[in-house]
């Protein structure tokens, strides 16, 4: 009976934490319905749906939102791919350069964002590489990469190597072994890493502000608009990002379950 009670307490506790983390989002969603009269959007002035109707009325904002989503998706895919491979390498093998690799991963996490942004910009400027989508994706992949490596690695070090040996023993080649056994086994780590990468990318301001050239992302546009007043469409779009995030995560969990079932 004690077990059940403890589990129930933990269950409620988990929901409490989720609630805590989501509480500001509730405010954001509510103010997406605020019939505000001035540019500021902080006091409740009545209910309206007009911001939903005029959702795409601000061209720059719409474009910034699309940019953010495209960049987050692409950099998440890149960072998850590179990070998973690197996480496997450092989690599994002993090889020359492993210490250095681990140090690089530490460096990537501990470099202050501003330094990363500024030094990347110097690199792009000295290489005369035009700033835009590509450079933002490069930067986002860079800082997400290390987080993916760390989560994947935490999983790889507890992975039973005989699982892969069994697969190869049963006739699976290198790629089949990876696809059918290794990847599903480390999937929780990969999925967690990918979620972190997406969150890091879509929320990044500092690094992006250096390497964006004239492309804008959602956070950048919002910060600029603080000066005059954040339009309510931002709240609506935040609400939609929230919903879209839900969709991506559900798709992810469904597909991983399906993969596991195959």
């Amino acid at each position: 009976m004690r077990t059940r009670f403890g589990d129930r307490v933990l269950h409620w506790y988990t929901w409490l934490i989720i609630l805590w983390l989501s509480s500001p989002i509730a405010v954001m969603i509510v103010f997406g319905f605020n019939d505000k009269k001035s540019k500021s959007n902080t006091s409740w002035q009545g209910f309206t749906l007009k911001w939903y109707q005029e959702l795409f009325a601000i061209d720059g904002l719409t474009e910034a939102l699309i940019n953010s989503i495209v960049i987050a998706v692409v950099s998440t895919i890149l960072a998850t791919t590179l990070g998973t491979l690197l996480g496997l390498a450092v989690g599994r093998y002993r090889f020359r350069g492993k210490g250095l690799t681990n140090f690089l991963i530490f460096a990537a996490i501990s470099t202050p964002e501003l330094v990363m942004g500024a030094s990347l910009l110097s690199l792009f400027v000295s290489a005369n590489a035009p700033r835009g989508h590509v450079t933002i994706i490069i930067a986002h992949t860079l800082f997400s990469l290390a987080f993916v490596v760390v989560t994947v690695r935490a999983r790889v070090v507890v992975l039973d190597p005989s699982l892969e040996e069994a697969a190869r023993d049963l006739g699976a080649g290198t790629w089949e072994t990876f696809r059918l056994v290794t990847l599903p086994s480390i999937m929780p780590g990969v999925a967690a890493g990918a979620m972190l990468a997406f969150a890091l990318s879509i929320d990044d301001y500092v690094v992006t502000s250096f390497v964006n050239g004239s492309e804008l992302t959602f956070p950048l546009w919002i910060i600029g608009s603080v000066k005059v007043g954040i339009p309510a469409q931002v709240n609506v779009m935040g609400t939609l990002i929230f919903a879209l995030g839900a969709l991506v995560a559900i798709a992810n969990s469904v597909s991983s379950r399906r993969r596991a079932a195959r």
Binding site: Y13, L86, K98, F103, L114, I241
Partner: protein
């Protein structure tokens, strides 16, 4: 896969980190040894005085950042572990859903979250205003613009980064080993301490690395939630770089911060009994 397997696996990541991290950071390291100002130009003098000056001038903020980061990390560990534990062992088929719910608020820009927090935690807002109205709280009670708010903000913003890796490690633990521990006369606490906790340590380490390091370097929470005397080293680096255009000092401070963080992680790894610190640093 042969002996070269790790190199093939690591190659793309190495290239990425090499080109986009090592080269620019090396250039930054070089900048940290220059002297001058933006108008007159910076000359390479290989001067280390940037480091000694910056440390002397900003030691308060540096120490403060480490304390805030450390306390926040400890709180995150205490708050996050039970969540990771519950999801890993009791989450069933909804594990991914719980994780996503934990992370989802961070898909929305921090500016919006911040404004919302300001609304919720206002001195006379819906929470404290109500409590003050009931007389539960003294009228001058406030959370915003305090140390508590800064540390709370760090905990809030990095908590998922603690929960996810711990979850990832715990999810792998076969529940039967816990039963085995009970079978061997372990109490619930013993089973946790002797069996579950050691098995989750790689995740705990990853979580600490992913939270302590960015929390200590974070400039946002102190700026948004802190009051006077809450400035952290991340804010100083920003000011030195962006406002003062003092690139050498900003670079020197950044490397000092990274070195201090590395030492912190080193000590932590040692306490955990890991002998290879670099390996531990990325675990």
């Amino acid at each position: 896969m042969g002996r070269r397997a790790p190199y093939w696996l690591a190659l793309p990541g190495w290239l990425w980190l090499g080109i986009f991290l090592v080269v620019p950071i090396a250039a930054m390291a070089s900048v940290s040894l220059t002297t001058g100002n933006l108008i007159e130009g910076f000359a390479q003098t290989l001067s280390v005085s940037n480091y000694s000056d910056a440390i002397a001038k900003y030691s308060t903020q540096l120490v403060r950042s480490l304390v805030y980061g450390g306390v926040a990390t400890l709180l995150m560990l205490l708050l996050g572990y039970p969540v990771a534990y519950w999801i890993a062992f009791k989450g069933g088929s909804r594990k991914s859903m719980y994780l996503f719910l934990l992370l989802l608020p961070f898909f929305v820009s921090f500016v919006l979250r911040t404004i919302s927090w300001g609304f919720l935690l206002a001195d006379d807002g819906i929470l404290f205003g109500t409590l003050k109205g009931w007389g539960v709280l003294p009228t001058d009670f406030h959370v915003l613009a305090t140390t508590v708010a800064v540390i709370g903000g760090l905990v809030y913003n990095f908590l998922p980064f603690m929960i996810l890796p711990i979850y990832v490690a715990l999810e792998r633990v076969d529940p039967r080993v816990i039963e085995a521990a009970y079978d061997l006369y372990a109490s619930r606490f013993d089973a946790f301490r002797r069996v579950v906790l050691p098995l989750s340590l790689p995740g705990v380490f990853a979580g600490v690395l992913m939270t302590f390091v960015p929390a200590t370097a974070d400039p946002v929470n102190a700026a948004v939630l802190g009051g006077t005397g809450n400035t952290m080293i991340g804010n100083i680096i920003q000011t030195e770089y962006l406002v003062n255009s003092n690139y050498p000092t900003a670079s020197a401070l950044s490397f000092t911060l990274m070195a201090v963080l590395l030492i912190g992680i080193f000590i932590y790894a040692r306490t955990l009994g890991t002998d290879n610190v670099l390996e531990a640093a990325a675990r």
